[in-house]
Symmetry: C2
Subunit: 332 residues, 2 copies
């Protein structure tokens, strides 16, 4: 594998989050699946916004959060995702570029507005997401910048890309270019309902070696293998013969390959505020370690550190330098 310009390229939905606190009663009244991600249309986005509380607006998007986390660790990072040329899209573009991320995707000049995710955070810190995909539906293979993929050691793809119809071609194109250039491809399963929607296709990506690294949480993994037993799911993942990284909330994480299995404790926190971005930032820390050839246990510790930072405040983007944070705890 020759030298590379970017440690990680992310491909994902370009979304701005509107975060509000909500009581469990509100979720029940609005028929929302607590902890999940629901796709909504523009009319529903407007009506839900009217009924929800005062919002904090922070750029989001699963793979975009991971890429910003990587940049915060000091990695060289790039992102491909579609916004529209509107105020919200301008904010998304500003925020990711302000973190030093290369973001070559041209904004859509017309069509649906930039995607927004209405995130409701209940008193227990759990987040429930309602996503209006908007301009993300206009991401196509044409947006996959071949040079950027070739120049990236790892291309990281979010499972949510299976939702906007044209994006899965972009996903497969990116994976094909990456492998042809001798690079690695990583996939996050994104959400257990997302796995429900696309189980066979995700298994196909794994078994046809379209991806080399898979990130999942315990719910997504059980959904993937349609089992309620976590050990059964882990064993099934081991048989896939790739690098599997499984997060288990406060129980930490597991790294699974055919040869080795490691369980790593979660990083301690003072107060859980908002779980939004926990998985995204875990992936950021893990990949930050991987790109500097750390061992898997160190990678998982870096992931746990980044996840711990992001769940102690609102929003899915780090509020401090993760590189400095890693240095402070002896993981720098």
């Amino acid at each position: 594998m020759s030298g590379w310009q970017y440690d990680v390229l992310g491909l994902g939905n370009a979304i701005v989050d509107v975060i509000a606190r909500a009581e469990d009663d509100f979720l029940r009244r609005e028929n929302l699946n607590k902890g999940g991600m629901m796709l909504i249309d523009e009319a529903r986005a407007l009506s839900l916004y009217e009924t929800m509380g005062s919002g904090t607006v922070i750029s989001g998007g699963s793979a975009a959060n991971t890429i910003v986390g990587l940049a915060s660790f000091g990695a060289k990072a790039a992102f491909i995702g579609k916004v529209r040329a509107d105020d919200t899209g301008h904010a998304f573009s500003h925020d990711i570029r302000a973190m030093g991320v290369h973001f070559p995707t041209a904004p859509a000049k017309d069509g649906p507005s930039t995607a927004r995710c209405l995130v409701l955070v209940t008193p227990d810190g759990e987040r429930t997401m309602n996503t209006y995909l908007g301009a993300c539906q206009n991401l196509t293979s044409d947006d996959v910048d071949e040079a950027t993929v070739q120049a990236s050691a790892i291309t990281y793809l979010e499972g949510y890309l299976w939702d906007p119809p044209a994006a899965k071609q972009a996903f497969v194109k990116a994976a094909t270019i990456a492998h042809a250039a001798g690079r690695k491809v990583a996939l996050t399963l994104s959400d257990s309902f997302c796995v429900d929607r696309y189980r066979d296709e995700f298994l196909d990506l794994i078994r046809k070696k379209t991806v080399d690294i898979v990130f999942a949480n315990q719910h997504e993994l059980r959904s993937l293998y349609q089992t309620s037993d976590f050990a059964t799911a882990i064993n099934a993942l081991r048989e896939e013969d790739l690098l599997g990284v499984v997060t288990c909330s406060e129980d930490g994480s597991m790294v699974v390959t055919r040869e080795e299995t490691h369980a790593i404790a979660a990083f301690p926190i003072e107060k859980l505020v908002d779980t939004t971005g926990a998985g995204d930032l875990f992936a950021a820390g893990f990949l930050a370690g991987l790109t500097r050839s750390a061992d898997y246990v160190t990678c998982a510790r870096l992931g746990g550190l980044a996840a711990a930072e992001v769940i102690q405040h609102y929003g899915a983007r780090p509020e401090c330098s993760l590189r400095d944070l890693a240095a402070q705890v002896g993981l720098g």
Copy 2:
């Protein structure tokens, strides 16, 4: 004084904050006065936004923050301020109404866009504000809804209203209606540079009894009386024969009338994150106490409690119910 519908009506600039972390070096390079509020035009707002870091967008505005704080304490609150009918203005209106605040001001259909304040927070937690007033410049006397003023026990006015040219007439009109209805009028001096700009007019408001209650921090008070000696400034305030409330950061606050002077300790905090809104939320707590006839010391403690909450996270709006918080510490 007859019964009232609103405990407090706020009149102020309707602003949405864009908050980013910044190093002290950045402030120096951009020629910004640390800790102050600088007025900027739209071109400067755009260019500063381009150079600043990733932003968190939260509704702000000094008096608006105070009013939202009052609502969080369970008080009945109203607000008058001007936005434009654009996305940012829609967010401001949504956020203040979502807190249960009565907000009768019609948005401007054209003209400058909704006001934005670019807030730079340095590692020491100090905030430096750069305000593009935009649509706030279109607030006029016509926006002062007579019925709302008459129905409010206290009308609370921000000194920043002296900046947009037509707003000071709105300010004076509101004070006149309030007094004619037997209500009280409060003023916050807003910022020491603001006091520098309008010292004689502010002293005039105080000495002509246009206002009954004055909020200031120690810098604003020293600027008002052009003295470097805090005791001299406090003595001058005492001679004005009104209710003076002076905040002194970590040294707590003082309540000053001609008859009595109280010094109240600050509420302890775990970690200073962002001082934005400290004064606004102190005023919210103090007024929340006043509207339920608490003694001045209790009012100041409620102010300190609300300020302590808001400086431990980014943004100038409370992240929890201040009523619940007050109950938890025995001030409910």
